[in-house]
Amino acid sequence: MTREVREVVFVDGVRTPFGKAGGMYAETRADDLVIRCIRELMRRNPQLPPDRVDEVAIAATTQIGDQGLTIGRTAALLSGLPKTVPGYAIDRMCAGAMTAVTNVAGGIAMGAYDVAIAGGVEHMGRHPMGEGVDPNPRILAEKLVDPSALVMGSTAENLHDRLPGISKERADRYGLNSQLKTAKAYADGKLQPDLVPVALRSAEQGWGLATADEAPRETSMEKLATLKTPFRPHGRVTAGNAAGLNDGATAALLAGEDTARELGLPIAMRMVSYGFVGVEPEVMGFGPIPSTEKALKKAGLTIEDIGLFELNEAFAVQVLAFLDHYGIADDDPRVNPWGGAIAIGHPLASSGVRLMTQLARHFAEHPEVRYGLTAMCVGIGMGGTVIWENPNWDGAAK
C-alpha cells in the first residue's frame, strides 16, 4: 500500500488549575483530575463525535494507585467516552504529556488514528517523586551515573557548577519575573480560559471549587534571597527559582488536519517536528538544548525562525542555560510570556500539554509569528522539544 504522511494539528487543550502538593487537591483523586480535563475537551468540541476518538494516551510518572491501572484507558471509561475508545498509560517523567502528544501525533501522521486525546497527570501530594522506586544497584556499583542524578534539585545545582555565569541572583530574578508575568497574565484574564474548574472535597471544609492555580505567590528579590537551599548547603537552588511540588492534569485534542477540517474542529497549531535527546543525567537540565537542535534540524529551521517559546521552568538555571546557549535575553518577551512553571507549578507528567495549550493561545494573539516551540528537560538526563507552526500566520513578518 502507499500512504501519505498527514499533517497533525493541535485542536484544543485544557488543564485543571494546578495545586500545591498537600493543598487544595489533598482529598481529590489524580484520575478525577484528568477525567475532568477529558470531559471538558469533549464539551468544548461538541462537533467531535465521541466514537471518533481513536486513542487516549495519558502520562503519569508514578503509575500506581489512582495514577495506575492503565490510566489512559480507565480515565477514558470514567469520562464517559464509548467503551470502543482505547487508551494507555505513558511515562517519560516530566515530558510524559509531551511524549503522549508526539506518540499520538506519530499515529495520526501514519494514518493509524484520526483523532486522539493526549494528556498527563501528576498528583505529587499523593505520589511524591520517587515513590516506590527501586534503582538498579548497578547504577552505583558501576558508577553509571552520579547518585545526584536521581535528585532533580541536585542536578540543577550541578548545572550551576558547570555554568558559573548563571548566579543565584540571576536565577532568583528569573523566578521573580516568572511570578510577575503570571500575575499579570491572571490579571489580564489570559490563563483562565485554559482552566477546567474542579470540585474539591474536604472532609473538614466541605466541597469547594478550584478555579485558579494555587502556587503563584507575591515575592521580591529580598524575600527570595532568604529562602533555603535544600539540595546543598550554600547552594543556589531554592523554592523561589524552581518549580514546586504540584498536583494537576492536562489534556489536549490532536487530529489529522484533514479530519479536523472534515469535523469542523479548530486548528490551533500544526506540528512541525519534534526531538527527544539524552544527556548526562547529572545535568539533565541541559536536555532541551540538544533536543531543540534535533527538532530544528528535522524541521529545516534555525533558532531565528522561532518566534515564541514555551519552556518548562523546572529550574531557572535550566531555562537560563537554554537562553544563554541561544543568546536570548533572560527577559526576552518571546519566552514564556505568561510566566512558567516556577509560578504556575509543574505537576510532572502533565506539564507538556500546558506548554502547548499556552503556545496555542499565543499563536492566536500573534499572527506575525510563524513558528513556536515547546521544550522541557526530563529526569535521568533527557530533553524534549516540539516545534509548531501557527495556522494564523499572516505571512507578513517572520
Binding site: 477525567i35 475532568r36 470531559r39 470514567l78 469520562s79 464517559g80 477546567v196 474548574p197 474542579v198 470540585a199 472535597r201 474536604s202 472532609a203 473538614e204 471544609q205 466541605g206 466541597w207 469547594g208 471549587l209 478555579t211 485558579a212
Partner: protein, 684 residues
C-alpha cells in the same frame, strides 16, 4: 430545647467558592462518615444548618447552594431520635425547628439552590424543595418522601411544597403511592416529574451545577416549570383515597393524614400548611402506629441483617457447587436464585430426562426474560446459563457442598432421597430441605451424618419474598447452621433461625388464622362476612384471596399437619375439605366464587365480622405466646420479622405483636405483653 443524646450530627459546612465569576456560598452536609452512614437531620444537625445559612447570608454571595457528602445528599430526619421524644410538645418542637430552618432557604432574597448529588429522602428532599432551584446527579441512588411507610407524613414542608411544584398527581405518587409500594424515584424520573430542574452526569455534577446556577443567576438561563393545574386537585385526591381505602381499609393513619395535607396544600398559605404539618406530625409521632412502624423499620433494616442466635460465621464452610433434587417449578426457581447469587455451578436432578430438561429450560427462559428487562447483561446471562445444568444421575452431586431438595412433601420420600444421597456426597456436604411443614429432625433421623441436615424454607415467589426460615433440627451442628446462614446472606435473603416445629413460623400463624376463619365459616358465618373481618388491620390480602394464593389443597395439607400436632388449636374444617375436593377456584375476577360460596354449608351460629376478627386475633396471641414459650424463635421480634417479610404484614402493626400488645389482646389472652411498653409503642 430538644436533644437527641446519641445523634450522629450531620454538620453543615460553609465554604465560599468562585463560580462563573460569582462569589458563591456552598454548604456541604456531612456527618463525617462514609456513605454507609448517611447524612440525616437531628436537632443538632438542624441547628448546624441554621448557623451555616446565617454564615452564608452574611457573606453576601451571588447565590447559596446546598449539597451533600459523596453519594448522599441527606436521607431525612434522624428517626433514631424519635424514641427520645416523650411528649407532644417535643414532637411539635422538632417539626417547628425543621420548618424554621428550612424556610430560611425558601424566604432568602439571595437565590438558593440544592445540588442533589446523592440519595435525598424525606427531610433531605424537603430541604431541597425549599431551595429556589434544584439540580440532581444521575448517580443519586434514590429520591423520595417515604414517611408514610413508617407511619409519618412529610412534615418539614414536603406535603405543601411538592404538590405546588409538580402538581397533585405527581405529589400523590411520591408521598403516598411510592412509599406504600416501597418505591423511590430515580434521578431521571425526578426531573421528568419536575422534582428537580436539571439532571447532570455524576462525573462533573458539582462543577456543572455551579456553572448552571451561575447562568440562572445571570439570567442567561430561565428555568421553565409547567404551571400546576389546580382544577383537578380534589378529583385526584378523591381517586387516591378510593384506591387507598380499597387496599388499606383506612387502617394506615399516616396515609390518611398525608391525603389531608395534600388537600390543604391547594389553597392554604405556606404558613398555615406547614403549621398543619407540624400538628399532624406531632400527632403521628405520639401515636402507637408510628412507633410500631419505626420498630418494624428497624427490624427490617437491622435485625434482618444480623440474625439472632446464629453460630459464628467463621464456622461456615465454602459452597462451590449446589445440587437441587427435583426439577419442578420450585426447584427451578431455586436453581436460578442460587446461580444468580452464589455464581457457582448448580445442578438439578429428577426422575426422567424430560423433567430435567424442562427444569433447566425454565431457568434459561427466566434468564432470557431478565436480559429482556435489562435486569441482566448478556455477559452475566451467558455465565449463568453455563452454571445451570441437569441430570437424571444423582452422582452429579458427588462434589456438591450444598444439596437442597424440593420434592413432593412426603417424609418417606425425602428420607429415601437423603439416604440415597448420603452414599454419593461428601460427609460434610450440607443437606437442606425446602419443606414447609415436615420435621427436619425426622428427615435426618436415619442418616449416618444427621448433623449436616438443615431446613431452608423459602417463600413463594422465591425471587421476590425476602424471608428465609432456617430450621435447626435436633442434631444440626453449628458448622451446618453457620453455612446455612452464610448461604442465606449470599442469596440476599433475610434469614431467621427457627426451631424444628410444625410448619415453623409464618405458615403456622397464617394457618392458625385460616383455621379460625374456617371455624367461623363452619359455624355458619357467610364467606363475605369472614372475608372482610380482618379489614381494619390493613393486611395485604383478605383471607379468601390469601387462600387462593396459597391454594386450598396446600392450605389443607399444612392444616392437617398442624391439626395432628396441635389438635386442640388447629381444627379440621369440613368446609375447607369440601372446597379442596370440589377443586374450584375460591376467587373469580377478584370476587369470591359464588359456586364456592354456595358450597359451604352448615352451622347455626354465625358470627359478626368483629367477632371473627376478635377470635382470630385472640388465636394469634395465644399461638405466638406458645411458640415463644416453646422456643420456636428467640424473641417476639423474630415473629414480627417473619410476618413482615414472609407474609407482608404491615409496618403499622409492627408485624403483629405490637398490635396485639396495643389492642390489649396479648394481656387479655396470655396475661402479659409480648414487648415492653416503649419498644414498639409510645413510652410508658
Amino acid at each position: 430545647m430538644i436533644e437527641h443524646p446519641k445523634e450522629v450530627v450531620t454538620k453543615a459546612l460553609v465554604r465560599l467558592v468562585q463560580a462563573g465569576g460569582h462569589k458563591v456560598a456552598l454548604i456541604t452536609l456531612d456527618n463525617g462518615f462514609d456513605h454507609t452512614k448517611p447524612n440525616s437531620f437531628g436537632p443538632a444537625g438542624l441547628r448546624s444548618l441554621d448557623e451555616a445559612i446565617t454564615a452564608a447570608i452574611e457573606a453576601k454571595p451571588a447565590f447559596i447552594a446546598l449539597t451533600g457528602k459523596p453519594y448522599i445528599f441527606c436521607v431525612g430526619a434522624d428517626i433514631t431520635g424519635i424514641p427520645y421524644l416523650t411528649s407532644r410538645e417535643q414532637a411539635v418542637e422538632l417539626g417547628e425547628l425543621g420548618h424554621r430552618v428550612f424556610a430560611r432557604l425558601k424566604n432568602s432574597d439571595i437565590p438558593t439552590f440544592a445540588f442533589i448529588n446523592g440519595a435525598a429522602l424525606g427531610g433531605g428532599l424537603e430541604v431541597a424543595l425549599h431551595c429556589h432551584y434544584r439540580t440532581v446527579s444521575g448517580g443519586a441512588a434514590a429520591l423520595g418522601l417515604p414517611e408514610v411507610a413508617i407511619g409519618l407524613v412529610p412534615g418539614w414542608g414536603g406535603s405543601q411544597l411538592l404538590p405546588n411544584l409538580i402538581g397533585v398527581p405527581g405529589a400523590a405518587q411520591v408521598i403516598l403511592q411510592n412509599p406504600l409500594t416501597q418505591k423511590v424515584l430515580r434521578p431521571k424520573q425526578a426531573v421528568e416529574l419536575g422534582v428537580a430542574d436539571q439532571l447532570f452526569e455524576p462525573a462533573d455534577f458539582l462543577e456543572r451545577s455551579l456553572e448552571w446556577a451561575a447562568a440562572v443567576v445571570d439570567g442567561e438561563l430561565t428555568v421553565q416549570r409547567p404551571e400546576v393545574d389546580k382544577d383537578m386537585w380534589e378529583g385526584v385526591l378523591f381517586f387516591a383515597k378510593q384506591q387507598l381505602d380499597e387496599k388499606l381499609h383506612g387502617a394506615v393513619p399516616s396515609a390518611n393524614k398525608a391525603l389531608e395535607l395534600l388537600a390543604l396544600a391547594k389553597d392554604a398559605s405556606f404558613a398555615d400548611g406547614t403549621a398543619a404539618e407540624t400538628q399532624i406530625l406531632a400527632d403521628l409521632i405520639m401515636g402507637d402506629e408510628s412507633r410500631a412502624s419505626l420498630y418494624a423499620f428497624d427490624l427490617v433494616q437491622r435485625r434482618a441483617k444480623r440474625p439472632v442466635g446464629v453460630p459464628d460465621k467463621s464456622l461456615a464452610r465454602k459452597v462451590t457447587k449446589v445440587g437441587i433434587v427435583g426439577a419442578g417449578l420450585m426447584a427451578s426457581q431455586l436453581a436460578l436464585l442460587f446461580a444468580r447469587r452464589l455464581q457457582v455451578p448448580v445442578v438439578l436432578t429428577d426422575i426422567d430426562q424430560a423433567r430435567v430438561d424442562k427444569g433447566v429450560q425454565y431457568v434459561h427462559d427466566q434468564i432470557d426474560k431478565l436480559v429482556g428487562k435489562r435486569r441482566l447483561d448478556e455477559g452475566t446471562a451467558a455465565r449463568l446459563r453455563g452454571l445451570v445444568s441437569g441430570s437424571v444421575d444423582k452422582s452429579v452431586f458427588a462434589d456438591a457442598d450444598f444439596v437442597i431438595e424440593a420434592v413432593f412433601e412426603n417424609l418417606d420420600l425425602k428420607k429415601q432421597i437423603w439416604a440415597e444421597l448420603e452414599k454419593i456426597v461428601a460427609p460434610e456436604a450440607i443437606l437442606a430441605t425446602n419443606t414447609s411443614s415436615l420435621s427436619v429432625t425426622a428427615m435426618a433421623a436415619d442418616l449416618e451424618h444427621p448433623e449436616r441436615v438443615v431446613g431452608f424454607h423459602f417463600f413463594n415467589p422465591v425471587a421476590v419474598l425476602p424471608l428465609l426460615e432456617i430450621i435447626k433440627g435436633e442434631r444440626t451442628d453449628d458448622a451446618t447452621l453457620a453455612t446455612a446462614f452464610a448461604v442465606g446472606k449470599e442469596l440476599k435473603k433475610s434469614s431467621v433461625l427457627v426451631k424444628d416445629a410444625p410448619a415453623f413460623v409464618v405458615n403456622r400463624l397464617l394457618t392458625r388464622v385460616t383455621s379460625e376463619i374456617f371455624k367461623a365459616i363452619d359455624a355458619g358465618t357467610p364467606l363475605d362476612v369472614v372475608n372482610v373481618a380482618m379489614d381494619p388491620l390493613g393486611l395485604p390480602m383478605r383471607p379468601i384471596a390469601l387462600l387462593q394464593l396459597v391454594g386450598p389443597a396446600v392450605a389443607y395439607h399444612v392444616g392437617e399437619t398442624l391439626h395432628r400436632a396441635f389438635p386442640d388449636r388447629f381444627a379440621e374444617s369440613a368446609n375447607l375439605k369440601k372446597i379442596v375436593d370440589a377443586g374450584l377456584p375460591v376467587m373469580v375476577d377478584d370476587e369470591i366464587n359464588p359456586e364456592v360460596a354456595a358450597l359451604v354449608a352448615g352451622g347455626s351460629a354465625p358470627l359478626s365480622a368483629d367477632e371473627v376478627r376478635a377470635q382470630a386475633l385472640d388465636a394469634l396471641a395465644q399461638e405466638i405466646r406458645i411458640m415463644l414459650d416453646e422456643g420456636v424463635v428467640a424473641e417476639a421480634q423474630d415473629i414480627d420479622l417473619c410476618m413482615i417479610l414472609g407474609a407482608g404484614y404491615p409496618f403499622h402493626l409492627g408485624g403483629v405483636t405490637p398490635y396485639l400488645d396495643r389492642s390489649g389482646t396479648s394481656e387479655r389472652v396470655t396475661g402479659k405483653r409480648f414487648l415492653p411498653q416503649g419498644v414498639a409503642s409510645l413510652p410508658a
